[in-house]
């Protein structure tokens, strides 16, 4: 008799009377669906909408005049708008300079903090405070500090007998001023990550190096860097992506000025929004997205290639 499970008919055709189980794949899909819906509403749909806007004239203040114009926005940015290429150049310069300096300073700080001296825990805690400050609050504070006449930095400089510096108020020095602030804020983050990597080095390796009297630059180059290389590449990737997208700091301190001397890509993009030119803004955003993807993919390719080589070399060494 089917329908009622019993000890006798378990394992026989009567098992078909058990409640039907959904296939695992379907269950997984059901569980993931709410997340997919939210992802679609908050990410995919806006991306598609922005994509459509990039091919249109869209004026925030005159939506009735919106119309399809094909690739004209992209053509304008890539071939006619000198500011676009300048912002790309400045953003590239920004990324290279800030990430390199943060990496260098971060490594040096990590070496200093990688010790067991008294109070090192407190020092490590204090040093990361800048990372947690709101970028807008920090930008405003630094802007007041940079004031050429009434700012504290120039006050200290002139008190020490040096000449006043123009900081964010002149085209020659505005980008440097932004870089200093960004480096000040994010070097501790880099330090923290690299320090974690250093502390992950096996003590046996460290002892062996000490016994072999491997010290200084040789120790760093032959022992530490190869072992923390994966950590270094991750932190560089994270900082690079952040650096390409930087907005709040530049917006608060200089708004991309004076002129276009500190006009980073995100700032210029937002300026288009403020002027109501949504189509140009969307096209800009997509070009920036492509640029970020090129950088990230290239970076990851280099990273994977190195890892492959390391893995190939490891069995040979063994």
């Amino acid at each position: 008799m089917t329908g009622v499970p019993s000890r006798e008919n378990v394992g026989t055709a009567a098992v078909s009377s058990y409640p039907r189980r959904l296939p695992e794949r379907r269950v997984a899909l059901l569980l993931v669906t709410p997340t997919l819906v939210i992802l679609f509403i908050l990410s995919i749909y806006p991306l598609i909408w922005a994509g459509m806007m990039a091919f249109r004239v869209e004026n925030l203040f005159n939506p009735a005049a919106g119309k399809w114009i094909g690739f004209r926005n992209f053509d304008f940015l890539l071939t006619k708008d000198q500011t676009f290429w300048k912002t790309m150049w400045l953003t590239g310069l920004w990324c290279t300079a800030t990430v390199s300096i943060q990496l260098l300073l971060g490594y040096m700080l990590a070496v200093l903090l990688d010790s067991t001296m008294r109070g090192i825990g407190l020092l490590r805690t204090l040093i990361v405070i800048p990372v947690f400050i709101s970028p807008v609050a920090m930008g405003l504070t630094w802007r007041f500090m940079y004031e050429p006449i009434s700012g504290i930095i120039n006050y200290l400089i002139t008190s020490a007998g040096f000449a006043r510096y123009t900081w964010h108020t002149m085209p020659e020095s505005s980008l440097i001023s932004l870089m200093i602030t960004d480096i000040w804020q994010w070097t501790p983050f880099v330090t923290l990550i690299l320090l974690a990597g250093m502390q992950g080095i096996s003590t046996e390796v460290v002892e062996a190096a000490r016994l072999d009297r491997v010290r200084g630059w040789t120790y760093t180059r032959r022992i530490v860097l190869p072992l923390i290389w994966p950590v270094v590449t991750v932190v560089v990737l994270l900082r690079l992506v952040d650096a390409i997208r930087v907005f709040d700091l530049a917006w608060v301190i200089t708004r991309g000025g004076p002129g276009t001397s500190s006009l980073l890509a995100s700032v210029n993009m937002y300026s288009q929004f403020q002027a109501g030119r949504l189509g140009i803004m969307a096209a800009y955003g997509f070009l920036l997205l492509i640029a970020i993807n090129i950088v990230v993919v290239s970076f990851l390719r280099v990273l994977y290639r190195q890892e492959k080589e390391t893995r190939r070399a490891a069995p040979a060494a063994a």
Partner: protein, 479 residues
């Protein structure tokens, strides 16, 4: 050490500390007063009425049957956030069963936020602040309710309002924006580009007359420019984009120039790459030779700060502000003078200050519109309704459009007399078209490029014309 020898940094920090303490206490008092008035109005209503009996005008009326909630968006700060809030106690006296909620938005993001809210037909608010420069954009999406019926229902009040606000300001909130247009907003805040100058520094430099022309203004800036002594002869709001666009447009207008050949069908062709455009850029770059260091990054806050701390002494076209003639904010309040902007010398030149200012409008998608209409009318009232309304507004850093209030409170805010003089000759701050922000953002970027040496004048003016032409073409003006 005397104040004169004390480093600017120390002086500024001392002033800032003092201002912070005063602002905090003052704002606390104002906020508490507004809240306390709402809390105790019912129990003290009789007392308040008795106290107000001498202040009531012929337009005073109350209505305790009117209910609802007014959610009014305004911009944050002394000029836009505090003055309307200061009129709440008298509003609650008149309409005790209406709730008021003021939402303060940062002005930097305000225009785009207002536009997006209006375009989305949001019912989250029923009254909002709007600039005449944004008016056509709001009208294009039918965001505003007409004030026609409200004004028709109270002809005495309407007559008082219409006769007290300059026509060129009233026009900005009509639709169409002409004297014959229908009223869609009541304007409680007005501004003009003014010339701010330090009378003591003028005297010191032997300058006996305020410059009437741009050439004279450049000479004055040169005479006052002493960078070794932390004194700079010129300051403006030279931040790239719209701010510099205003600077350029102000000079252009005073030379008799216009943005377009005409503002009617068949027109709208930009007129920047012209003799007048060239002279405009020339004047701007020559003034910039004497600029304060912050000028190229400056919006209004930075320019006002430099004037307030005494390092900038001459601003020939600066938006009107209460802080420079208020001793609570600057030690130089007594020596700041205001004047109308200079003009050119070519035929057609005139002192034509750009006008700014704001109105409140009733959101077509909002609820409790009757309450919103009464609120907006109340904020825009003066002695005709109750003397306390204008007093609360003007003594709390408000900047009215009503000429009677500008006269009455000129002793409290000395720059009101300069404002009144400028209103008479004022011209719209930007052309009244939806594309104005986009056009003048582009114009400002090109002007900045010339000032910092990134482009020459011919390139920049040509780029202005080409860029604006493209924007207008996309807007369908040439079809």
């Amino acid at each position: 050490m005397s104040m004169d020898n004390e480093p600017v940094y120390k002086r500024t920090m001392a002033q800032a500390k003092d201002m912070r303490a005063k602002i905090t206490r003052r704002r606390l008092l104002q906020t508490s007063a507004a809240m306390a008035a709402g809390a105790v109005v019912t129990s003290n209503l009789r007392e308040a009425r008795a106290a107000g009996a001498d202040t009531h005008g012929p337009g005073w009326y109350t209505d305790d049957k009117l209910t609802g909630k007014v959610t009014c968006i305004t911009f944050a700060g002394q000029r836009w956030g505090i003055p309307p809030a200061a009129t709440i106690p008298t509003f609650l006296e008149r309409f005790p069963n209406v709730e008021i909620e003021l939402i303060d938005e940062p002005v930097g993001e305000g225009y785009t936020k207002i536009q997006m809210r209006a375009a989305s037909k949001s019912s989250s608010f029923n009254a909002a602040i709007a600039d005449a420069m944004q008016w056509s954009a709001l009208q294009g999406i039918k965001a505003c309710e007409s004030f026609g019926p409200t004004l028709a229902a109270d002809p005495g009040w309407a007559k008082d309002y219409m006769s007290d606000v300059p026509q060129n300001i009233l026009d900005g909130y009509n639709w169409p924006q002409t004297p014959d247009g229908e009223c869609y907003g009541l304007t409680w805040d007005g501004n003009c580009k003014l010339g701010y100058y330090r009378k003591d520094k003028f005297e010191e430099a032997g300058i006996t007359e305020y410059p009437g022309t741009w050439e004279e203004a450049i000479e004055v800036a040169k005479a006052l420019h002493r960078p070794d002594e932390d004194q700079y002869g010129f300051i403006g709001t030279g931040r790239r984009g719209l701010y510099m666009g205003f600077e350029f447009y102000q000079i252009l207008k005073t030379l008799g120039g216009e943005a377009f050949d005409s503002m009617s069908p068949g027109g709208y062709h930009p007129q920047f790459n012209t003799d007048i455009g060239h002279e405009t850029i020339d004047i701007l770059t020559r003034l910039m030779e004497y600029r304060h260091p912050v000028t190229l990054n400056a919006a209004d806050d930075e320019a006002n700060q430099a004037l307030a701390n005494g390092t900038a002494v001459f601003a020939p076209f600066e938006w009107g502000t209460s802080i420079l003639t208020d001793p609570e904010y600057t030690e130089f309040a007594d020596v700041f003078g205001t004047e109308i902007v200079p003009k050119g010398t070519r035929p057609g030149s005139d002192n034509k200050p750009l006008m700014g200012g704001f109105s409140f409008y009733v959101n077509t998608s909002g609820e409790d519109q009757a309450a919103a209409f009464e609120w907006i009318k109340h904020v825009n009232s003066a002695d005709y309704t109750d003397t306390r309304i204008g007093e609360a507004f003007c003594t709390n850093t408000g900047q009215p459009t009503r000429l009677s209030l500008l006269d009455k409170y000129a002793s409290h805010q000395p720059y009101f007399s300069g404002l009144k003089k400028s209103f008479a000759k004022g011209t719209p701050g930007l052309p009244w078209i939806p594309e104005n922000f986009a056009c003048f953002d582009l114009v400002g970027n090109e002007a900045t490029a010339v000032v910092v040496g990134e482009k020459n004048r011919d390139e920049a003016l040509k780029a202005m014309d080409e860029g604006v032409t493209q924007i207008m073409s996309d807007g369908g003006y040439y079809d």
